[in-house]
Amino acid sequence: MGNTLNGWSEALVGFNPMGLPLGLVILAAIPLVFIALYSLTYGVYGERKISAFMQDRLGPMEVGKWGILQTIADILKLLQKEDIVPASADKFLFVIGPGVLFVGSFLAFAVLPFSSAFIGASLNVGLFFAIGIVSLEVVGILAAGWGSNNKWSLYGAVRSVAQIVSYEIPAAIALLCGAMMAGTLDMQQITLHQSGHWGFAHFFLFQSPIAWLPFLIYFIASLAEVNRAPFDIPEAESELVAGYFTEYTGMKFAVIFLAEYGSMFMVSAIISVVFLGGWNSPFPNIGSFALNDWTNGPGWGVTWMILKGFFFIFVQMWLRWTLPRLRVDQLMYLCWKVLTPFAFISFVLTAVWEIYVP
């Protein structure tokens, strides 16, 4: 259990009592528990409170002090609900849809470095894996939308898939700029390249004069990839009832929401790893006042990673209650005629900067 790179996760992998790979199971269960806890507290409750404050309301206030227990009451309600499968639905696809969707959003957590000592799998293609595995979600959405046998669901699914598939391109190119600055696709190595005594000054966002452009492009594209406002046309309430999960009730509905909150944290974590230093402390060392050294380490790393992720989730929520929804044609215009060309420009500029300047 050292403080070395990936120390905690390697210790877990080595833990197999009686020949059973229990450590591997625990390693996979940690992000799962994290997703569940965070979407319970910050996800559902936080979103309702934040939206309420932005609209000058109070939000949930009845259950417990400041409505803190509201989410638990909601969960109890969801657990008790009858699990309805519509008579005309395709039973098999209807049931596996949410499962595939959740697995798709959960798999990317395998390569997120939560701390210098903890990462699910230190792949040398980590970033590529995180970008690529989103395509599993696409299939889950299609299965849910088609299996519901409902026009709104199918429209929602098709819109969502078109949106995710198109926005993957600017997102991938923007992340490639970060990968170019690090010279590796390994998430741990990318983070390591951003550590140093000057804290935030070593982050890739502040390392080159162009880095803000891919950062911004990836942030916008990631909003579209997780179907958040202003790109929430797949579940546009005023047009499609609720999009691809119109027919879902009870725990299946909860699983779909868990998947959404899971991918929200996933994209926030990716953007913080690639551009904002992941688990590195943002404080610089000032003379003998070694703030950076004091606030770095495996335990601190977890704190920074989660704080940075939560910050971006807060921005996502903030945008949701601020911006109006885009139309389908505006969505495609933004992707293909604005974000993709600018992503290419930032790619070329970053390449030039990396070759000639530092």
Binding site: V13, N16, G19, P21, L24, D90, F92, L93, I96, V100, L123, N124, V125, F128, F129, I131, G132, I133, V134, S135, L136, V138, V139, L142, A143, W146, L154, V158, V161, V165, E168, T184, L185, D186
Partner: protein
Amino acid sequence: MSNLTYTAIFYLFAAITVFSAVYVVFSRRVIYSAFALLFTFFGVAALYVFLSADFIAVTQVVVYVGGILVLLLFGVMFTHSIMTTDLKSDVLHIIPGTLLLLAMIGTMLYTFYTTHGWMPSTTMLQGSVVERIGFETMSRFVLPFEMSSILLLAALIGAAFLARFDKPGNNE
């Protein structure tokens, strides 16, 4: 990871791949075949990981699941009355098909037994695979790389040309 766990996981993925592939072929409904293909592609990607080809595994997921499978699903969904169509071909060549299958399996087994089992690679994998792939693509295989990129560019332009609107008053 102990050896037994490793083997168990390998056989789990092998079973997923084979059984879903069988389902793709034998399913009566096109849409189920298309969705079962997801598990096949995914199982194959997992098998690539067992061959230490991480990069190819992820590429497999990106290209086949993210690209081809989604395209296939859209195609199937646009097909008219897919839930009711009774899938069968009019021409059934059972005997030639069986003969071909047996010949193929026989040849593979023959090759396997005459070359004395599996041949493990003599050179061990060193360092990051991604770096090597990048170097090789940009040096020794730069010509095929450029050729395929030109081919893809031509396909992209062709698709854009076919898909764009005909302007009114421009129909010659």
